[in-house]
Every structure is written in C-alpha cells, then in structure tokens.
C-alpha cells in the first residue's frame, strides 16, 4: 500500500504529467479529544500526520495575510500559529479559552469566543493585544461580522440569544432572543442568519435591531451555516437530523438534503466542487459530491471538529505514518 502511494505520487510529479494541479493541496482537521491537528493530503485524501496541540483545540482560522493558520486550544489557553502550507508550528500565544475565533473582514480585529468563560474578547489582530472584553450571559459559541467590520454577532448557545457588539465604539449593541440554542451565525444579503440547534430552522435577523424577521426550516438541530465560494448556495448542517442541506442563497429555498451521519459540524469547499464536512462522532471527514449526493470518507482522529482546506498549498510531506 505504501509502495503504491509512493508510485502514485511519483507519477504526479513526473514532468509533462498534467495532473500537477491537483497533486497539491493540504487540509487541516482539528481533533478536539485527541488534542491534535490532522494534516491531510487533499489529493490522496489520506491523513499523513498529526500535529500535537496542548489540550483541547476546536476551531481554526486563516490570518488576513494568509501566512498563519490560527488554532484555538480552549483548555490549553493558547492559540497555535501554523504555517498553512506546511503545518509547521510557528508560534504559541497565551489566549484565554479560545473556542471560536474569526478575523474581521478589514483584518483589524480578531474576535475570540470564550465559551466556557462567558466572554467575547476582541483582540488587535496585528499585536494580539486584548482591546475589549465583553462579558455575556452564557456560552458564546459562533460568530460573524457585518461586511464593513463594524459589528460582530455572537450566538449565546446556552441562552436563547444572539448578541451584537459595535466594534467602532466597542460597546454592546443589543442582545435579543432568536430561538432555542442558537449556534452557527452568518451574514447574508444584509441579514444575519442564526441556526437554532434546539429547533429545525434558521432565524433571519435584522442586524440593526436584532428582530427576528422570519424562520426558514432546514432540518432537526440546525447547527452550522456556510456560504459557497461563489456565494450562490447556503449550506446548513443539521445536528439532530444528521443532514446537510443546500439552499438557494438568494431565496433561502431548499435545493437538496444530504444524509451525513455522525454529527455533521464544520465545512469547507474544495476547488473541484467537493465539500468537506467533519463528522464529529464518527472519527471521519466526509467529502461530499453535491452532484451525486455520495460522499467519500477520510479516517481522522477521535473527534473531528474545525476544518480548513488549503488547495493551493503543496501536498504535505509524510513525516511519520501513524
């Protein structure tokens, strides 16, 4: 098997062989319980190695300059900076309880949700200095920004609320009920969408007032939301239903429902049109072909959570097979 892989990778690197373009690509999948980040060769769809973290990583995000991949280690209280092309650990910065994290579209701020500590921390992205801490009523989970970077929206999972914080004045804007156990948050067409995990719908929220404008049914336990790179399709993972739903991003009309068992969670889009989805309780990543509705499976660590694809990166080197 190893010899076959070697042979194949040799073929891809032969001059004149035009498959060069898809020979590269490196993917990172976080293993929360295993305290590691799995490095996956996107071409072979195999885990090639694991990067140990300290305790319990959950999510990861690319820095605005594209040079670092930030991995939040919650109980380890640190953010690990990885080289997104090689997976090399560049730096470890102490940060309190980094659960979800995201840079503002203008690249100025890094917002870090401290889920266990009921706090939303806004860092200066350039210096990693804490600018402002917003205490919240409960468990800040997911977040999204307005496109002008003026507001960050945070779902407070154990309450029924969504909170908005004004980043120009660094003041809380509003905290309002949006539905049971709100999780994923996404800005779409001038509205904020919130997936309500305790129900089977997403709430469409007015960003100015926090008023819920309408509910759109997606499936039991609506958990996380993603917009396709062409911004045409909204993808929703449903926790209790074990499904992934594609919807028209303009009309919010459902297009197709795919069965993804094992707690579909995070998602990313490959250039070949396939969609990578972590299956939280199955130790696997699903690589879904939206056209056929079938998915391939990649074996990863104990509890796959955050996911990041770097299709332009080189194929990762095999350091050690596990």
């Amino acid at each position: 098997m190893r010899r076959l892989c070697l042979l194949l990778s040799l073929c891809f690197t032969l001059p004149g062989f035009t498959a060069r373009a898809n020979a590269g690509g490196i993917a990172f999948v976080i293993d929360s319980a295993g305290a590691a980040v799995s490095v996956i060769d996107m071409a072979t769809q195999k885990e090639v190695r694991r990067i140990p973290t300290l305790r319990e990583p959950h999510h990861l995000i690319l820095s605005p300059d594209g040079r670092s991949l930030l991995v939040g280690d919650t109980t380890g209280n640190q953010i690990m900076f990885l080289d997104p092309n090689t997976g090399e650990v560049k730096q470890r910065v102490p940060v309190t309880d980094p659960y979800q994290l995201a840079f503002s579209p203008n690249g100025k701020f890094l917002t870090v949700n401290g889920l266990a500590r009921n706090q939303v921390d806004v860092y200066d992205a350039a210096t990693m200095k804490l600018v402002k801490r917003f205490p919240v009523v409960a468990t800040p989970s997911h977040l999204a920004y307005s496109p002008d970077s003026s507001i960050v929206f945070v779902s407070l999972q154990d309450s029924d609320k969504l909170a908005a914080f004004d980043l120009r004045t660094m003041t809380p804007k509003w905290t309002v009920p949006v539905g049971k156990t709100p999780a994923g948050v996404l800005w779409l067409n001038g509205k904020v969408l919130v997936a309500d995990m305790g129900t089977d719908y997403i709430a469409v929220v007015d960003p100015e007032t926090g008023k819920v404008l309408e509910h759109v049914e997606t499936g039991k336990g609506a958990h996380n939301l993603f917009l396709s790179p062409d911004r045409k399709i909204l993808w929703v993972n449903n926790r209790a239903g074990g499904t992934t739903v594609s919807m028209d991003a303009a009309t919010l009309k459902p297009i197709r429902t795919y069965a993804i068992p094992g707690g579909p969670d995070d998602m990313d889009f490959a250039p070949n049109g396939k969609i990578w989805i972590t299956r939280r309780w199955a130790e696997k990543v699903a690589v879904l072909d939206p056209a056929t509705g079938t998915f391939e499976t990649i074996e990863v660590g104990r509890s796959p959570h955050g996911l990041f694809l770097n299709p332009k990166g080189p194929a990762p080197a095999v350091v050690s097979s596990r």
Binding site: A33, G34, A35, P52, L54, R55, E56, T74, T75, G76, N77, Q78, P94, V95, T96, D97, G114, A116, R117, T139, Q157, D158, K180, T181, M197, G198, K220, G221, R239, A240, G242, P261, G262, G263, R280, W281, A282, E283, E299, R302, S303
Partner: protein, 315 residues
C-alpha cells in the same frame, strides 16, 4: 480502524441521546451528553474487566469466606454509581467547567497555567510518556490526600466509611462518602490546575489505573512477590491498610497504585499478612447499612467530629 469507545459513544449520542435532548429541548447539553456517554462506556469497561479478572481470582484463593456476602451488594452500587452513572456526569459538568474557568482567569492575570509539556517541550507528542509522568504525580497527590484523610477527625469520619467494610472485595474501591468524593474532586482539580492535567486525553490508561485500584481491594491471597510489591500495589499491600489495626491515624500503606510514597515516607508495612478488615470504632450502619444509611452515618460521625475533640479514634 477508529477507537471503539469513541465510535460506540458516537453511536449512543446519535441514536439515543441527541434525539432525546432534541425532543426535550435540551440541545445545549449535547457536548456534555457525548462526554458522559464516553465516561460511562469507559466506566462500564472498567467494571467489566475488573469483574472478569477479579471474580475468578477471589474464587481461586480467597482471604476470607463468608456465610453470606450481603454487605458486598452495596459496594456494587457504589461502583456502578461512580463509574457508569451520575458521578461521571457531575465530574464533567462541575469539574471540567470550573477548571476551564479558573485556568482562564489565571491566563488573564498573565499567569499561564503550567503544564508538564510547557516545562518540557520535548514531551509534546510523546503521549504515553507524558501520561506516565502525569500518572506518577497524580498518584503522589492521591497518596497525600489519603494520608491527610486519616489525620483529621472530621475527614476520617468521612473516610471511615471506606474502611468500615468487613467483607472487602474488588467492589470496595468506590465505597466512599459523597463528601469525601467531593473533596477528592476538588483536590484533583487543584493539582490538575497546578500541573495542567489533560482530562480526556488518555482514557485507556486511566482505565488500567482504575483496574489496579480495584484489584488492590480484592478478597484474594495475591502478592506480586518481594520486588513486585515494591513496584505496584498488590491486594496484600492494600489489605494491610484496611486492617482493623489500620483504621484511623496509625495506619500504613496509604498509596493507591505505587507503593513508592509509603516507602519514601516510611509508612509502608510489607509484613502484615492478609489481616481482617473493618473499623471497630465506627457504628454498625457504616459497615452493613444501605447506601443511604451509610451516608447518613458518615454525616453523623462527621458532625460529631466537630464536637468533643479529646476522644481519639481508631484502635
């Protein structure tokens, strides 16, 4: 491949727990439910492995034979409660969240909670070695806690419940007063905070340690030999701690898995040979009562401990 425990817990989560949580509007507990499923499965495996090994051992060379083993039943209940049932859930909800909260607070003060891996970066990625080091430190902290629980009147009042059993078997490891368990949790929590114990990273090795602790209570004539007994705690060694003469503050052999701390602090006694167990100074309910009666008797003794202080306990 995959870890069978993770996959089984995932199956429980997907097919039983999540549907139930969704039905009752409790989806915010979904993380807790998965971890509980994992704890419970490991607990069930611990009980099953212990049962499969210890039961034949106890039949093979029992130290004591009893006309009836009525008092053993309650120990089975203690074991199930603490390994499969409610205790893992409480541990996770209370302990884990508190630990995250406190360590986060310390990070804010500019003090990063230390970890062994932080002190020795070479350990990062050396999972088994790291675990062994953590296990040794935790075993020492447990030795200290156990030793102290024999020194204070109020604490011994609680811990004497563990010693009251005259029909000691491999089930007896988990028979503790709930307050004593609570103290142990807090104790462990503080140590975990000081050295940064990874909670769920090494469940299989934890399973092995728990097995050894259960085995050390087994009603079996089993020693690991002169050298073996000085490397790992055997049923013979721990039985001496449970001996009627070992009750109270003049006991010996306080260790759980490693006898090294007893040897270091000169509390080891390798000479006592399969002595009868129990605590003659405690009321009968502590030994043969129901679960509730034992807990209440422990509480009464605990309350009395704050009264007259001139009466010493133990034999």
């Amino acid at each position: 491949m995959g870890d069978p425990f993770d996959l089984a817990a995932g199956w429980l989560q997907e097919n039983l727990l999540i549907p139930a949580l969704y039905q009752f509007g409790l989806m915010n507990w979904e993380d807790v439910s998965y971890n509980w499923a994992l704890f419970a499965l490991y607990g069930a495996a611990q009980v099953a492995v212990t049962f499969a090994v210890c039961l034949p051992l106890e039949h093979w060379r029992p130290v004591e034979r009893w006309p009836d083993s009525k008092a053993v039943g309650v120990d089975v209940l203690y074991t199930v409660l603490s390994r499969v049932g409610i205790l893992p859930l409480v541990t996770y909800v209370l302990f884990y969240r508190a630990q995250v909260s406190v360590s986060g607070w310390m990070t804010d003060q500019g003090w990063v909670p230390p970890t062994l891996e932080g002190l020795f970066p070479a350990l990062l990625g050396q999972q088994v070695l790291t675990f062994v080091l953590y296990a040794v430190i935790l075993d020492f902290s447990d030795f200290l806690r156990h030793f102290l629980s024999h020194q204070f009147r109020w604490w011994w009042a609680l811990h004497s419940l563990h010693h009251a059993q005259r029909q000691m078997t491999f089930w007896s490891d988990d028979r503790n007063h709930v307050l004593d368990d609570l103290i142990a949790f807090v104790w462990f929590g503080v140590i975990a905070l000081l050295i940064g114990v990874p909670p769920l990273q090494f469940p299989l090795l934890v399973l092995m340690l728990r097995f050894l602790e259960s085995l050390s209570h087994a009603n079996v004539r089993l020693s690991f030999g002169w050298l073996g007994d000085r490397l790992l705690i055997s049923p013979r060694f721990h039985r001496a701690h449970h001996g009627v003469l070992g009750a109270g503050d003049r006991s010996c052999n306080y260790g759980s898995v490693l006898p090294w701390w007893d040897m270091l602090f000169r509390t080891a006694d390798f000479s006592r040979d399969y002595v009868p167990t129990g605590d003659p100074s405690g009321e009968e309910a502590l030994a043969t009562g129901t679960w509730t009666q034992q807990q209440m008797a422990g509480l009464r003794r605990f309350a009395r401990a704050f009264g007259r202080s001139h009466v010493r306990y133990g034999a």
